[in-house]
Amino acid sequence: MLRLLSQQLRLNERDLHASVFGPGKDSKTDTSTTQTDGSSFNASMQTSPASMINQYKFEEEEEDADTKDIFVTVDNPESHVTAIETYITYRVETKTTRSEFDSSEFEVRRRYQDFLWLKGRLEEAHPTLIVHPLPEKFVMKGMVERFNEDFIETRRRALHKFLNKIAEHPIFSSSEDFKIFLTAGSGELTSHKKQGPGFLSRMGETVKAVAAAVRGVRNRPQEFTDMQEYAEAFSQKISSLDKVTQRIVREQKEYLEELKECGPTYALWSQSEQELAEPLKNVAGCVDNCCKETEEQVKHLNDHLIPVLHEYVLCADTLKAVLRRRDNIQADFEGKTEALATKKADRDADSKVLSLAWDSLVGRSPEEVKQQKQQKLKGEIKEMRDELDKAEDRLEWANNALKTDWTRWQKVMRTDLRSAFIDTAERNVSYYEKCLAVWESFLQSQRTDAEGNGNVDSS
C-alpha cells in the first residue's frame, strides 16, 4: 500500500524538483517511459500534498510492525585495474520478496561512484528528505591509501549501512533509482545513469538555487528556525563526541605501548629468582593477557563507536543542507509572490508614460497600445499565478516532508546512538570482566601454592 502511495507522491516530485533545481527536467521526463521515476501509474490523482503526507505518516507506523522484506549486504571488495585507473568494487547482494522486483535474489558489483550517483539521485528527487550520509571520498588524516585494508573495510561497512538505511526508509526504498542500483547489470546501470537532467539543465538548477539562496528567506516559520538551531547544536555536540572518542583511542594506544613492556620486565626478573620465579612469571602472563584485552577493546572502539559517531557528524551536515534547500524553496515562493504583486501593481498603474512614448514613436494609437498591454499583462499574471500556486504546493509539500522525515530521523538517530553507546558500555564491562578473571586466577594460584606449602594460618 505504501509503495503505491509513494508512487503517487513521486508525480509531484517533478514539480518540486523544478522549484529547487530549475524547470529543465520536465521536458525530458514527460515523454520517456524508462525514466528515473519510471512510473506506469496514471498521473492524474491530484490529492493535496498535505493529505498525502498524512497518509505517509500513517503508513510509516504500520510499517514498523511489518517484517522486513528486503535484505541488502555489501561485501567482498575487489580491486580492478584498467589502463586509466585502479578502483575497488563491492558486491551488493539483495534478497527480497517485494513484488516490483523481478526476482527474489540479485547480485551486482558496484563502485563508490555508483553509490555517490544513487545518493545524488535521491537528493534530487527528495530535496527535503534526509538521506543517510556516505563515507567520505578521501580520508584527510595522514596519507591513508585508498587501497589500505582497514580503509576499505571501514568504507565497506559504511556503504552497507548506507544501503540499509535507504532500504529502511519508507520513501527511498521504493525509489526506482534504488531498484536499478540493486539489480541492474553494469551496462544497464551506465546507460540509466546517462539519462536524467543533462548538464545544461543542471547548470540552470544550480543558478536558480544560488539565486534563491542569495534572495534569502523572509518569513521562516519558527519551527524551522528551531530545527536550524538544533542542527547547529547537534552538529557541535556530535563532533565533540567524535573528537573525544578519537582522543580516548589515542590515549589507550599509548597506554598499551607502555603496558607491553611491563610483562617482559616481570619475566626478566623471574629469571634471577628461585622461589619468586613462579609468581613473577605468573604476573608477567597476567599483564600480557591484559595487554591483549586492551588491544581488543581499542579495536572495538575504532571499529564500532567511531564510525557511528562519524556517520552522525555527516548527518548533521545533511540536516543543515536539507534545511537550506527548504529555505530555498520558500525563498523561491516568496520571490514569485513578490513578482506577482509587482506585476499586478503594474497592471493597476495609471500612467505608463515611458512605454506610451515609445509606442507613439513606433506609430501605434495609444488606445490600441493600452489594450495590447492589458492583454499581455493579463496573460503574464495568469501564468505567474499558476507558477505561484505550484510554488505554494511545492513549499507545503517540502515543509511537510521535512517535518515528517525529521521526526523519523530523530527516532533513528536515537536508536542508532543509543545502541552504539550501550554496545560500547557492554564492551567495556566485558573488558574489565576479562581482566578481573585474569588477576583472580593469579590470586587463586597463589592461594593454592600457599596451601600446598602448609603456610596458611587458620585463625
Partner: protein, 448 residues
C-alpha cells in the same frame, strides 16, 4: 580468639592501605586476610627478636620546622614523631600515653650509617628514598609535598620496625637510644668513633681490587644484587610511564561527561539518559586518582627492595674485602717465607732488591745475614698470626653474613610475593570499579 593486633603489625609496609585493600576485596575471605598479615609479623617477631616483642614502635606524625642550619642559613625541614610504648600496656587494657620524640631524616641516615659500619655482615634495612624518583607526572617530586612526606613517614616506620625485628640489630644500644633519647643522641653516636671506621670502610669498598678465591655464594649473591637492582629499576620506570598513560585515558572520559551534559540540553527524550550517563563518566574519570595512589604504595614496596639490593651488595663487597685482606696477608707471608728460604740456602730464586744489590755490591757478612734471618723469622711469626686472625675474621664473617643473607632471602621472597598479591588485588579492585561504572552507564544509555 579475639587477638588484638598490635599497631606495628598492622602498619608493616604501609599496610593501613594494605588492610583497606584487603577489606575492599571480597573474594579473598577476611579470615585468610588476617592470617596473611598475622603471618608477616609473627615471622618477624618469633625469630629471636627482642625489641619488637617488648616495645611498640611507630612513626606517628610529620611536621614542618624552620631553623638555622650548619652555615647559619634559614632552612625548612620535616621532623617525624617516633612513638614507643611497652607491649604489655596495650594488652592490660590501659592506654598510657606513648613516649615520643622528634627526629629528622638526617638523623635516620646517621643511625643507618652507624649500623652499616657496626654490623658489616648484616643486610641493613634501607631508608625510604631521599628524593622522589620514578615519579609519573601527576606526582610531585618536591620533598615538601604532603603526599611525599606521608609516604616517607610510612617508609621510616617500616625501617624502624625492620631494624627492631632484626636478630642482631634490634639489640643495639644506639638504636635503642635513637628511639628513646631525644637529646644528646647525636653526640653518643659520634662518641662510638664509628665515623673513622665509616670513612675507611667507604674508601675500601670503593677501591678496586681483585679477589683470587671469593666464596662462590657471595659472588653469586653480588651478581643477584646487581640484577635485582637493574630489574626493579626498570620495572619502576615502566610502571610509572604506564601510570601516566592510564591517567590520561581515564581523564579524557571526563570530557564525555561534559559533552553529554551539553547535548542533553537540546534533546527531549534522550536528555535524562544522557545527563545521568555523563555523571558516571565524570565518576569514572575521577576514580583514577585513588587507583594510582594505591599503586604508588606498591611502587614503594618495590623501592624498598631496590634499596635492599644495595645493602645486600654492600655485604658481599665487605666479604670480598675481608677475603682480599686475608689473601694479601697470606701472600705477604708466603713471600717472606720464600725470602727466608733463600737467605738460608743462599740461592736466589725470586727477584729481590737485596739479591741484586748483594750481587752488585758483594755478599753480606754472616752477621748481617743472621740479623736479616732473625728479622724475617719475627715477621713470619707475626705474619702467621695475622693470617690466622684474618682467616678467623673471614670465616666468622662468612658464617654470620650468610646467616643474615639467608634470613634476608626468606624475608624478600615472602614480602615480594605478598606485594605481587597486593598488586593483583589492586588490579581486581580497579576492574570492579570499572565494571560498576560501565554497567551504570549502560543502564543510563538504555534510558536514552
Amino acid at each position: 580468639s579475639a587477638r588484638v593486633m598490635p599497631t606495628q603489625e598492622r602498619k608493616l609496609f604501609s599496610s593501613t592501605l594494605f588492610h583497606k585493600i584487603f577489606k575492599a576485596h571480597t573474594s579473598l575471605s577476611l579470615k585468610k586476610c588476617k592470617g596473611c598479615l598475622y603471618k608477616i609479623s609473627t615471622s618477624m617477631v618469633e625469630k629471636g627478636t627482642s625489641l619488637l616483642k617488648m616495645m611498640e614502635i611507630s612513626v606517628a606524625e610529620a611536621e614542618k620546622r624552620t631553623g638555622k642550619n650548619a652555615v647559619n642559613m634559614q632552612e625548612t625541614y620535616t621532623v617525624y614523631l617516633i612513638e614507643t610504648r611497652p607491649v604489655d600496656a596495650a594488652s592490660e587494657g590501659t592506654n598510657p600515653v606513648p613516649d615520643s620524640l622528634w627526629r629528622r631524616y638526617s638523623e635516620f641516615e646517621l643511625l643507618r650509617n652507624y649500623l652499616l659500619v657496626t654490623y658489616p655482615f648484616s643486610v641493613v634495612p634501607p631508608l625510604p628514598e631521599k628524593r622522589a624518583e620514578f615519579v609519573w607526572h601527576k606526582l610531585s617530586a618536591d620533598n615538601m609535598d604532603p603526599d611525599f612526606v606521608e609516604r616517607r613517614r610510612v617508609g621510616l616506620e617500616n625501617f624502624l620496625l625492620r631494624v627492631a625485628s632484626h636478630p642482631d640489630l634490634s639489640s643495639d644500644k644506639i638504636f635503642y637510644s635513637f628511639l628513646t633519647e631525644e637529646n644528646g643522641w647525636k653526640e653518643t653516636v659520634f662518641e662510638t668513633g664509628f665515623q673513622a671506621k665509616a670513612d675507611s670502610r667507604l674508601k675500601a669498598l670503593n677501591a678496586t681490587f681483585r679477589v683470587k678465591n671469593p666464596d662462590k655464594r657471595f659472588a653469586e649473591m653480588k651478581h643477584y644484587g646487581d640484577e635485582l637492582q637493574s630489574v626493579i629499576s626498570q620495572l619502576l620506570r615502566v610502571r610509572a610511564r604506564a601510570a601516566d598513560r592510564l591517567y590520561g585515558v581515564y581523564k579524557v572520559h571526563g570530557n564525555y561527561g561534559r559533552v553529554f551534559s551539553e547535548w542533553s540540553a537540546i534533546e527531549k527524550e534522550m536528555g535524562d539518559g544522557l545527563q545521568s550517563a555523563g555523571h558516571h563518566m565524570d565518576a569514572y574519570a575521577a576514580s583514577v586518582d585513588d587507583i594510582l595512589e594505591e599503586e604508588e604504595h606498591y611502587a614503594d614496596q618495590l623501592k624498598e627492595y631496590l634499596f635492599y639490593a644495595d645493602a645486600l651488595r654492600a655485604v658481599c663487597r665487605k666479604h670480598e674485602l675481608t677475603q682480599y685482606e686475608l689473601e694479601m696477608a697470606a701472600q705477604d707471608l708466603t713471600s717472606k717465607k720464600q725470602q727466608r728460604e733463600e737467605l738460608a740456602t743462599g740461592t736466589i730464586r725470586t727477584f729481590s732488591l737485596k739479591g741484586m744489590t748483594s750481587k752488585l755490591f758483594g755478599q753480606e757478612t754472616p752477621e748481617q745475614r743472621e740479623a736479616k734471618v732473625k728479622m724475617l723469622e719475627t715477621q713470619i711469626e707475626e705474619g702467621e698470626e695475622l693470617v690466622k686472625e684474618r682467616n678467623t675474621e673471614c670465616e666468622e664473617f662468612v658464617k654470620s653474613a650468610w646467616v643474615d643473607i639467608e634470613r634476608f632471602k626468606e624475608q624478600k621472597d615472602h614480602d615480594l610475593r605478598e606485594a605481587l598479591i597486593s598488586y593483583a588485588i589492586m588490579q581486581i579492585s580497579m576492574c570492579k570499579k570499572g565494571i560498576q561504572v560501565w554497567n551504570n552507564a549502560k543502564e543510563c544509555f538504555s534510558k536514552m
